[in-house]
Each structure stands twice: as structure tokens, then as C-alpha cells.
Symmetry: C2
Subunit: 220 residues, 2 copies
DNA sequence: AGTTCCATGTCGCGG
DNA sequence: CCGCGACGTGGAACT
């Protein structure tokens, strides 16, 4: 990884056009050739400008031209270099995440009864023309139930489930299909909308669900 | 801006939990106190972990604890510091952009016929209680047409336009109002949903539209 | 402060 | 490679 502090101006042309007047900034060039330009503000997350790998870097004395195969171009015009050093960081072992929707989905797929008594899983990520339904189940009466899972349940999630239900209920082999909206927390507006559309909703305690899962695993 | 190259492990607990085993990484601390941790891979854009301002940084010899008012915590445990320097970058003059939705809107407002033969603009950013409609037009028959413009057209855009149409069609002075979804690219799912709701859709070539605009300007 | 919506979103997964 | 949806989405504009 190469770190450069330089007074520079930058021009980007690609998905849009943008330019930065000359100022002191940090330029990061990573091992794979990707480039990011950071100012001292604008938050930790977002670079002022960037080019993701793969790309070609052509460096002359006073300007760097970075191009990628998609036809995007970044030109850095250097006025003055204040610092320029490279470091060998090696491969990063990567990070562990926990608590996202995907994991919640896996836990619920293993424990559909936590959503509703008598529920059994038919298929996870059941495909439709308008996208995959998180879980398709059968209830105790043998009727189809579509489940939409979110970490935080808002109106948009209810909208999404509504679309799936519209679609699924056109299939004579599935009909009637009702919906249950599942999330760790559901906003009051989402609950209201769900009630209005006769869609069920369940708030799931993630920690508790993990506990149930580990209890089950402990039995084996 | 402070740049630290260090062998460190990192733990985050907040919206989710995540951890990084010990490895050499770049730690950036910006003037406002926000922190980002970058590896030598993973692209130019995204840090491995970060904390946005505002936050408190408590630094001891071998560990940094960063907390924010929302109850998120980042702990950096330092094994070895290889480099640690601060730079004064000053305020950044900021950047100029061109080519985003706003500009596409301006071009289309000048050339509504590019969306549909016979279309004429009534008002841009037509206000409703649920937000402004990008363009309100009249078609060749004198009927109202609501236009939603996106750079990339997805289902959410169709959803948004649907809400506007529901609203506008309650107004007896406007009714009937139909909708056209306009974007540089529209996903197949969005097209399917639009068809299903009898909403029109048009894909617009931005470069071509710019060409038309400059041809018109050349006439004056 | 809360809400809504854009973004050069980026990222990851499945077809 | 494309399409789609999640994201610790972030960030800005507006109420």
C-alpha cells in the first residue's frame, strides 16, 4: 500500500464527470492498483474520488492517469508531493460478521415454528419473476405461507411481501397464499400497513433464536 | 489527518458484531475524529471497519476505544506500530459533479418529446403531499402524465411512481393520470412490475440526449 | 432531530 | 457475466 500526501487536482470521467480543484489530500494506492483520494473531512467512509480495481495506472512526473476496462478515467495532477511512502501489509485474514439478515434467515429456516406454530419450510429463496421469496412454507392446514425476513421491518418490506403475494396468488397450484412479515423490530407504520393488507407479522428475538439453535445443536 | 500503519486486531459491536484478527493495516483518523481501517485489498471504497463522526476516541498505549452516541463501539488493539504521522491538510474546496439524476431531469424537461411523442411539460418537481413528482406533463390527448426519472431504474422507482399516481388520481382536476418511468437503464423486474401496473417505461440514452441538447443550443 | 431519497453507491450471491 | 437485494449502507436535502 502506497500513501501519498500531495497538493493535487483531480478529474474523473466515467459514470459521471467530476473535478476537484487543487488542494492537499491523501492518495491511497492499494496492492491491486485501486486508488482512493481522501480529504480530511467528508467522513471516514467515502473517498472524494476513487477507482476500483482492475485498472491501469500510468504515472508521469506530474500526473497520474488511471483507467479501467469499463472506460472510466481518473486523472490526478500533482502540484506538490509532501509525502510518499509504500508499506507491505500482506494479505488480510478478513473479517467475521454476525447478525445480518442472511444469518437470521438460516436460523429461521431451521426453526420455522418460531414464526408460527405448525409452520414447515417448503423452500428457502423461492424464485419468482419479481425476485426470490425469503421462505415459502406450509402451515398446519397445508396452506402456503410466504415469509419475508428483514433485520429492521419497515414499510418497504411490507410492500415487497405484498408484491410476492400478488404474484404467488396467481398460481392455482399455490393459491391461497398468505404472508407473514418477520423482523427483529417492526416499525408501527409497517405493522399498520401489514394489518391493513391482512399480512401477519412477527418480531423475533435474535439472541433468543440463537439460544434455541445452540440448544438443538447441543442435543447431538 | 493521522495515518497509522500498525499490526492490530479490531472489534466492532453496534449494528452488528464483527472482528478482525491481528494483521498489518492502515488506520486513518480524520480531523473530525472519524476512524477508518483499511487493508491492502477490498477495493478503494470500503474500509474493513470504520466509525463515523461524531465519536469519542480513548487512546491508551495498546488499545483505542472509539464510541459514538448511538451506542456503537470500535476497539483497536495494537500489537505493533510501524508508522504514525499526522498531516495538516486544511479544508477541502469540494467537488463539482455532472451527470446525475438532476441533470438528466433538466435535459428531459427541455426535451419531453424524447420520452413520448406529443408530450409537453406542465411542471418540474410537481409538489404532492408525499413528495415531488419529477415531471408532470400533458400528452397529445391533453391527459396528465406523471414522469419518474432515475439513472438506474429498479423496482423501488416503480413503487415510488405508483404512490404518486395513487395520489394524483385522487385529484378530480388532474384525473386520469398515467405514469411513465424513465431511466438510462431499467431492470427486467422493474419492467415487469411497470407492465403489471400499466405504467409505461422508457430507457433514455444520456449521451444521445446531451447531443440533442447541444444541437438545439447550436441553433441559437 | 427525524425523514426521505440519491449514489460513480459497493458488495455478495445465485442463475 | 448479469440481475437482484442487502448494507453497520453513507450522505445530503428538506421538514
Amino acid at each position: 500500500m502506497r500513501l501519498v500526501i500531495a497538493s493535487c487536482s483531480v478529474d474523473y470521467k466515467g459514470r459521471l464527470q467530476a473535478s476537484l480543484p487543487t488542494a492537499k489530500r491523501l492518495i491511497i494506492v492499494k496492492a491491486d492498483g485501486c486508488v482512493a483520494i481522501h480529504a480530511d473531512t467528508r467522513g471516514a467512509y467515502k473517498p472524494l474520488m476513487w477507482m476500483n480495481a482492475p485498472n491501469r495506472v500510468v504515472e508521469t512526473n506530474e500526473s497520474w492517469v488511471i483507467s479501467n476496462p469499463k472506460g472510466e478515467h481518473l486523472q490526478i495532477t500533482i502540484a506538490e508531493i509532501l509525502f510518499d511512502t509504500s508499506f507491505d501489509l500482506g494479505e488480510d485474514p478478513g473479517l467475521q460478521k454476525d447478525g445480518v439478515e442472511a444469518h437470521l434467515q438460516i436460523l429461521l429456516a431451521d426453526n420455522p415454528e418460531e414464526i408460527e406454530e405448525g409452520l414447515s419450510l417448503t423452500r428457502r429463496e423461492f424464485p419468482t419473476d419479481i425476485g426470490p421469496v425469503d421462505m415459502l412454507c406450509r402451515d398446519g392446514d397445508g396452506n402456503a405461507v410466504a415469509i419475508e425476513i428483514k433485520r429492521r421491518g419497515g414499510i418497504d418490506g411490507v410492500e415487497q411481501l405484498t408484491r410476492y403475494l400478488d404474484y404467488l396468488n396467481r398460481d392455482p397450484k399455490l393459491r391461497p397464499v398468505r404472508g407473514i412479515f418477520v423482523a427483529q423490530e417492526i416499525t408501527p407504520q409497517a405493522k399498520t400497513l401489514a394489518k391493513d393488507r391482512e399480512i401477519g407479522f412477527v418480531e423475533i428475538d435474535y439472541e433468543e433464536l440463537q439460544g434455541i439453535e445452540s440448544n438443538i445443536l447441543r442435543l447431538f
